[in-house]
Point group: C2
Chain length 203, copies 2
DNA sequence: GCTCCGGCTACACACACGTATAGTCAGCTG
DNA sequence: CAGCTGACTATACGTGTGTGTAGCCGGAGC
């Protein structure tokens, strides 16, 4: 039921909605435009989803389901860096994801990523010589936002990098940049100490 | 002229527009709503800006001017980590900035941040023992997106952290988390080597 | 004092939107 | 075949929107 009806009109409408919502935003996209993109009448959109808001909620639900599936796959597969998992092809839905996040939606998605990230951070904390300054949950919140930033701001990142980050070449270049960034601290231990001291002084 | 007329109706309209555009998106915000928030008639909005699109462009221009000023201050001030500079209070405009970035706007702002970041990265590259795997510009593109992610996703970050990142306490906690993250690599040199090798294998 | 001009308002218009409704058609069940 | 159900369409309605226009009002210049 989940795979077969991906060709039904209902699924086509949902896909078109996710694309157009992502492209023009929720208010910017129109039911008529979505219907046209899906190759159906605007009335059918209402018939299946009832209202524009309900259509949006259906899109959110579908996104969550999709991400969950990708997440499970990533966890089951090669040793899970949750950052890499976040970059997994969200397919043509990355624009919708970005909009949803900025609109304040997709909260459960973000929270689950934080949960996974906190777990992962707590793990590598055990190999650290110095005690972490803040709880893993807090650091996970920040690094989750950072991980998602590539998707949310992919247009700018692609422009600045000179290659689309969702193309094969861009993906490789991005991965190499991430590996380099994540394996080289931007602040030395001394810099960090100085920064922390400066922080104390400011209060 | 720049400071005095910040009390003029024109400036009030612009500020109200930036707030409402940030809150509801460009399509979601209405000229009438903006006019009401600014305490003027909707006709005056048109009188001053001509059209909704032109009003948006005026907002963009104002944002760029504002960020440039903040940027210059940050560069002149305490030894410039461009990441910290990005977090500087964009005031009540962070929502607008987030929308503009996701809409594909604010490109010049992003690009300039990349330029500054690349410079900064090239500087610290000289203290590295191993040669960087990718150009500073590419790494700067990624880390700029990461730096902006706190602002763009501030709602989610605040929820996950349990404190508003734009409050004084949240700001301190965020700074400490950032210092910890930026001074401790998430990948060991060995992990990085393995990840790179895995990348080669995939091609 | 009179005119002129720009900030400012009130009002009207055309249009596109979300929503509602009535109806068509294919397929199934008895 | 009759009857029903649900996917689907065509069309209409009310509303809120961006935009246009005519006019008011206070102050500056002659």
């Amino acid at each position: 039921m989940a795979e077969l009806d991906d060709l039904t009109a209902r699924a086509r409408i949902r896909d078109a909605a996710m694309q157009l919502f992502g492209e023009h935003g929720f208010e910017g996209a129109t039911i008529r435009g979505i219907a046209e993109a899906a190759g159906v009448s605007s009335g059918l959109v209402r018939h299946h989803f009832g209202s524009k808001q309900a259509l949006r909620e259906a899109c959110d639900a579908h996104l969550v389901k999709l991400i969950h599936r990708l997440n499970d796959q990533a966890l089951a597969g090669a040793g899970g860096n949750h950052v890499a998992a976040a970059r997994i092809a969200v397919g043509p839905y990355h624009a919708y994801l970005a909009r949803a996040l900025v609109d304040g939606g997709a909260a459960s998605l973000f929270d689950e990523m934080v949960r996974l990230g906190a777990q992962w951070l707590a793990d590598i904390d055990r190999t650290r010589t110095d005690a972490p300054d803040v709880a893993p949950e807090v650091r996970a919140a920040v690094s989750t936002a950072m991980a998602l930033s590539i998707t949310v701001l992919h247009e700018h990142v692609s422009r600045a990098m000179g290659v689309d980050v969702f193309s094969p070449e861009g993906d490789v270049l991005l991965a190499r940049a991430l590996i380099d960034l994540y394996s080289h601290p931007m602040l030395s231990a001394e810099d960090a100490r100085k920064a922390l001291a400066g922080l104390e002084r400011h209060r």
